[in-house]
């Protein structure tokens, strides 16, 4: 990046180069004046591309197309090309992409994803780039408030293979700041090697195939991020895999000894710079991605089926998924018991733990699936649900003297909704809710809890039925 006149972007270099290798859409996110536009324009210059730079906030879609005129036969329309129309462009930069009108934004979908516009293929177009200011949060300082900026439409964000946050002045070291201040001439800049570097990396990329380990990694990482509330679409999963291959090709080309380049680095960078929520959600942290990557990588390394089962059981979040896994008879009794005891000890969701044990302990007994100690641990959480004894406490407002506990009303609604159809199910739900009301003071969602309980119960019932 420094050869292009950009300093402090070194950490982004592999991902930017990978986007040039794969030719997939790239989105830069950063504050005003951080060099996003400069970088992308310089890239096109360095690669000798016919480049179009549009400002989405000022753009009318007709500007991209040129002036429409009927063909001489009067049966079709063609567009008169102008210096600003997109038809012959090899690279296109849509600046301020989160500031344009929704109807224009919608038309970018096909441009970004399929390299076509109005149904007409843009055969010359190689690179699709965009830039935007960061999404706003209520805590942003006045300098960070950009008029008219909106979080990017998730569907549009999902079309960008690479999305990266560029650094600001305060992120730079003293030496980088000095370099930026002393840089005043573009003439020093050398582009010679960029095209040949990209060509070599493209050859490597086209020959690369995803390994089983890589597929495993992406399956794990998507599950882990889903648990954290970040959905990754099937399209995204394919993109992430392509990103990883492109990044690996770039890292190999950059390194003197390509054999020593770790695929793990490529996978992490693919995830980090291919995470679409970066463009529209303020509630994720880099640590979330790092934790998901570390765990997924560790899981992808495990080849022993028992170890894999153990790790997956612990990582599974939903009680019903844990129920399915724990009733897997191919798993050794000691391993099963160990995993269960470990989970029960560290589970912070008391209701999940209680409903799981309540629904499953008879199934465990039925086939002696657990060691005696593990069974005791299960009963420790199951029996207080089987037999609830304690006080229901609540704060009674002056306006509601002698009324019922307000936390009980939603429980009662769930119970009455199912009582007519399945009285046994309602009885189980009531028992769980009473346990929750008496023992779990911080409140819970009765509807969700009942669904988890019922799912675990049915899994256990199926298991017992199949083993009779």
């Amino acid at each position: 990046m420094s050869r292009l006149g950009l300093y402090g972007y070194e950490h982004l270099e592999p991902a930017i180069l990978a986007s040039l290798v794969s030719g997939d859409p790239l989105l830069l996110i950063g504050r005003a004046g951080t060099g996003k536009t400069f970088l992308l324009n310089r890239l096109s210059q360095a690669l000798g591309l016919i480049h179009r730079h549009y400002n989405a906030s000022l753009l009318s879609f007709d500007d991209l197309l040129g002036f429409p005129v009927p063909d001489p036969d009067g049966r079709s329309i063609r567009y008169l090309s102008s210096p600003s129309s997109i038809w012959n462009a090899e690279s296109v930069l849509i600046d301020e992409v989160n500031r344009c009108k929704p109807e224009v934004q919608n038309k970018f979908f096909s441009l970004l994803h399929e390299r076509c516009i109005q149904g007409i293929s843009l055969t010359e177009l190689r690179f699709r780039w965009a830039a935007m200011n960061p999404i706003q949060t209520a805590d942003d300082a006045p300098d960070d408030l950009y008029e008219g900026c909106e979080p990017l439409d998730p569907a549009l964000a999902d079309r960008f293979a690479f999305l990266m946050q560029v650094p600001d002045w305060s992120d730079f070291s003293d030496s980088v700041q000095s370099k930026i201040l002393s840089f005043d001439s573009l003439d020093d800049v050398s582009f010679e090697s960029l095209s040949s570097f990209i060509q070599r990396a493209v050859l490597r990329f086209e020959e690369a195939r995803p390994s089983l380990q890589m597929q495993n990694y992406f399956q794990r990482v998507s599950g882990l991020l889903q648990q954290e509330g970040f959905r990754l679409s099937p399209r995204r999963m394919k993109m992430l895999q392509r990103n990883a291959l492109a990044l690996h090709a770039v890292l190999c080309e950059q390194h003197a000894d390509p054999q020593s380049v770790s695929i793990q680095t490529a996978l992490f960078l693919a995830l980090k710079y291919g995470f679409p929520q970066r463009a529209y959600r303020a509630d994720f942290t880099e640590q979330t991605l790092e934790a998901a990557h570390t765990t997924a990588w560790r899981l992808a390394q495990i080849t022993d089926p028992a170890e894999k089962w153990y790790a997956e059981f612990l990582l599974t979040d939903l009680p019903e998924e844990k129920a399915t896994r724990i009733l897997d008879l191919s798993v050794d009794k000691d391993k099963r018991s160990l995993a269960l005891v470990r989970w029960l000890g560290k589970e912070t969701n008391e209701l999940h733990r209680a409903l799981f044990c309540f629904a499953l302990f008879p199934a465990f007994q039925f086939k002696s699936l657990l060691t005696e100690d593990a069974m005791q641990d299960v009963l420790r959480y199951a029996m207080p649900v089987m037999h609830v004894e304690g006080d229901m406490e609540w704060k009674e407002l002056p306006s509601n003297r002698n009324g019922a506990n307000p936390a009980w009303a939603p429980c009662l609604k769930v119970i009455s909704d199912i009582a007519g159809k399945d009285p046994d199910r309602a009885a189980r739900a009531e028992q769980l809710f009473l346990y929750g009301i008496v023992h779990i003071k911080q409140g819970f969602n009765p509807e969700q809890a009942e669904l988890h309980l019922q799912a675990c119960y049915l899994i256990a019932a199926d298991f017992v039925n199949s083993q009779r």
Binding site: M375, M392, K395
Partner: protein
């Protein structure tokens, strides 16, 4: 007062305030008559004299007086304790009062029961907390628990 209650008329005037309500809850899933999933249920109870500084000696004296047994091995053999695990559920006090069963063997069973289960190979732990209890030993009918057809 009632009519004004909740309207904010007593703000800063020492008027009625919110208060904590406490309601005792007791719900035993297996006592629900609609859910017939118990295949066996035994009331087990014992009461130590108070104070009872040496529980083992006290029990040994009782076994000697009532059954002529002086060794723990003989007592365990004679007791023929349950050989399958049971669930332990607290029994209501009125059940204990109306029952006349106060077998010495119950003391042995209770010594083997923790708060949740009777373990046939569990250790005998003779403490006041364990022995002064009134519990049900419950054997669950597992297929019925899961509402499976016989």
């Amino acid at each position: 007062m009632e009519a004004l209650d909740g309207l904010g008329a007593f703000h800063n005037s020492g008027g009625p305030r919110s208060r904590m309500r406490i309601e005792p809850i007791r719900s035993a899933y297996l006592e629900n008559t609609d859910l017939v999933c118990v295949s066996r249920k035994e009331l087990i109870q014992f009461q130590l004299p108070s104070p009872c500084p040496d529980i083992r000696s006290f029990l040994l004296r009782k076994f000697k007086r009532e059954m002529g047994l002086t060794q723990w091995q003989d007592i365990y053999r004679a007791a023929s304790l349950p050989r399958i695990p049971y669930l332990v559920l607290p029994a209501p006090e009125f059940e204990a009062r109306k029952s006349s069963t106060l077998s010495l063997f119950h003391a042995l069973i209770l010594a083997r029961c923790n708060a949740f289960s009777y373990r046939p190979k569990g250790e005998f732990i003779f403490t006041e907390q364990r022995l002064n209890r009134c519990i049900y030993l419950v054997k669950l009918n597992i297929p019925k628990f899961y509402a499976l057809e016989p």
